[in-house]
Amino acid sequence: MSITDRYVVVLAAMLLGTSVVFAWTGETRLNLFVSVYIIETLAVNQVFVWLSERARSALRVVERILVACFAVVVITEIVRILAG
């Protein structure tokens, strides 16, 4: 199994395992789902520092997209709080 395959397996186990935990605890907030998945993905990306340079450049694109999504979630929450 290559290091890229291992990365995919670890990420899939983390995300789907968290999904099971959310279902088990009865969590209902969509913004929390998105935030936790994004943070988990960013954390796993940092752990796999030995991925090849090409793979890391692709992951940087993923990170940018996920951070943009996270920013949207945060802004939405701020607007919701300010609007009362």
Binding site: I3, L15, S52
Partner: protein, 248 residues
Amino acid sequence: MDRNRYIRLGAALMVAGACILATSLLVLGSHPGMSTGTALLVLGLVILLLGKTAPGVTPELAELLVRVGHQNLGRLLEEVGMQSRAVYLPSSVAGGDARAFIPLNDGQCATPGTQRLDDRLVVFCGEAAEDVGLLVVAPGTAALSLLEYPPGATMDEISVALTQVAVSSLRIARGVDVHDHGDSIEVRFRGESVPYGSAASAIEWCLGSLAGSVAAALMAEAKNRRVTIESENVDGSSRTVTLALQAE
């Protein structure tokens, strides 16, 4: 997994995630469904973009090209009668890119001056007629292009760079350990797996094994010094390469 499989899997997961998320959000009102859909969407995006970085060349074509290059260099070395060990040069000495210098006679031109060498195949390294050698691209020197940044000079930085090249990119070993002994450095490749048949004996003798070449080239570039492969020992699936750093 190959490029197409990654792309297909990533696309399938993204479509499935989007469908599950939309259905759960708009029709079913199912929170576990929303959670699973979001997870699949993120996972699919990551796999899809990772798949686009996988090499497009088939393994058969890559192996063929490697064999052709190796056989031609082996024939050239045997024809010229070179039997000396290569000196790995950093890019600052060898015309812009890291190169391996094979002197005509062993020990001769072991330290080919401090001046920049011309980036040509046949290079003179002294005043005498026999002070000549071949400046070639070794597998290790070519592998340096796989690094994002030039390797740092500390042992930790060298260890990370070697792991990145040998374990992650080239997959010729499962792990790398580096031990510093002053002017000699020991590099141990654990779980070595060379992807093609053994290199021509002339190449292996002059340039070292694939793992040895990678270690020597990376060490030369990191330390900005000339490096030779002193010895290589194979013990089961482990290979220990002893590198000698030449005087600055």
